[in-house]
């Protein structure tokens, strides 16, 4: 049985001088095509490290990542990342930020006009066409994150990696952007791996929630499937018994069994 994306026995040890810290221990996870997987855990448990390993930005000490039957060990546009702090290039306009990615990924396969259309199409997906000529400093945090999302989608990644994409946003903007992401996932059928520390967000968006134990040597503590039919409606879910049960399970895991230990 081959899986779409396989995180295979990944260990990560950071070594500084003579001291080495084991951050991740024996992480094994299979992600199916089109699946939305969230990874949740307290801060410092190595969630972001795991995402960076999948992205290829960090090397696993032991183990590896297999995506569509091929091992990946360097970064590439097939694993597009939406960074927590948007990481748009401030000297480029919104359009040029997305276009840079489009040109790089489709420089050979699409004509100039097609790349222009594809850039605009992706800006349109996140409703940012109106600000295409603005610079990142001229748009709000939520808008920046939308552009970051458009840039990632424009690469047509095999797996979309979201690194706490809504973490720096206020509650209303966050909800709005979550709906956008949910709609896009429904529409485009992307495979998504999202890092989050927000329980409601994880339950609302995910097919499966991966709960990490506390570090050092964090491992997967529990995997919870969220059997709620899509499309999901935020307001209806508030009273949905399945939603509440899932939410409770995650909360119990995080705050009873693996309570965050205030270290250093």
């Amino acid at each position: 049985m081959t899986h779409y994306c396989k995180i295979d026995h990944v260990d990560k040890v950071f070594t500084r001088g003579s001291t080495s810290t084991c951050v991740l221990k024996e992480i094994t996870l299979d992600i199916e095509k089109g699946e939305y997987v969230s990874i949740i855990g307290h801060s410092g448990c190595g969630k972001s490290t795991l995402l960076n390993i999948v992205a290829g930005l960090t090397r696993a000490t032991i183990g590896g990542i297999i995506l569509e039957g091929h091992e990946v060990n360097e970064p590439g546009p097939d694993r597009a990342v939406v960074f927590q702090n948007h990481s748009l290039l401030p000297w480029l306009t919104v359009y040029d930020n997305v276009r840079l990615a489009v040109d790089k990924v489709f420089g050979r396969s699409k004509s100039r006009a097609e790349r222009d259309a594809w850039t605009l199409h992706n800006l349109n997906l996140v409703q940012m066409t109106h600000a295409k000529d603005k610079r990142p400093s001229e748009i709000s945090g939520g808008m920046k994150q939308r552009v970051g999302l458009a840039r990632a989608l424009a690469m047509e990644p095999k797996i979309l990696l979201l690194d706490e994409p809504f973490g720096a946003l206020d509650a209303l903007t966050r909800a709005h952007l979550q709906d956008t992401v949910m709609g896009l996932h429904q529409k485009l059928g992307n495979t998504v791996m999202m890092i989050t520390h927000d329980v409601d967000e994880a339950v609302l968006l995910s097919d499966r929630i991966i709960m990490m134990t506390n570090g050092p040597a964090a491992r997967i503590g529990e995997i919870l499937s969220v059997p709620i039919a899509r499309p999901r409606k935020r307001l209806e879910l508030v009273t949905d018994p399945t939603f509440l049960k899932c939410r409770q399970r995650v909360l119990e895991f995080l705050y009873e069994r693996h309570r965050f230990v205030e270290a250093a």
Partner: protein, 302 residues
Amino acid sequence: MNMPAAKPDISASIPSSPTSPPAAKIVTMPRKQTAMNARVSATLGKIAAAVLPPLVMTALLLTAWQLLCMRSGATLPPPSKIWTEARDLIVNPFFVAGPQDIGLGWRVLISLQRVAIGYGFAALFGIALGTLIGQSVWAMRGLDPIFQVLRTISPLAWLPISLAAFRDSQPSAIFVIFITSVWPIIINTAVGIRNIPQDYRNVAAVLRLNHFEFFWKIMIPSAAPYIFTGLRIGIGLSWLAIVAAEMLTGGVGIGFFIWDAWNSSRLPDIFVALAYIGIVGFVLDRIVAGVASIVTRGTSAN
């Protein structure tokens, strides 16, 4: 005489219907005029606020200078004497009265030409070397202390070495400009390259930008504010250095003019030359700062 009388009426009618288009249409002409007048007077006010204080201060300083140097036995000439004795230099910067008797404007241009060559080389070489050094931790560790020592050496201390090497005053002066202004450009560029945020490197990695693309699309724009800081310090230093270098190497530049005036006891001429040097240095600085603000717009803000 009409306008002042009409003004209060118009300005009184504006607030009552500030945004309604029909009213604006009916009184198009007067409204436009008031708007124009208001804009003009606002601009004039702004200019006055920027220009008047320095003018007042200059006048005060000149008066103090005049009072201090007017009494008999004063070693330095007062402004009035400078005006009477060096009027041709002040009034006409571009006269040509002989091979060695030309206006200060020409002399400044000759000095600027030397600066342009020396500083141009320094900018190219400094940015290139700074980019290389910034990318390598070991190059930075090895070279940074050396640069920090070399950059403190006075421009004039380089002159004998450069004269010995080039055996001619013109390239020597240019070399002094180069060697004076290159250090801040190298160091600032290297720091700028070192400080490229990891986020941008990650973006480049995910996009698989090659070295060339990374250089043009990430490295240069990201380091641009640092590079321009170096360029701005560099232009200031090279203008400082040219005057000193020309005093020693001779020729036609503004620096040699000062030395020549000193030797022939024309003190008022020196004061005029100092004013020229100061103003040109200020303009050079503003030009580089202006280019910087155009090129790096949006880069510093995140």
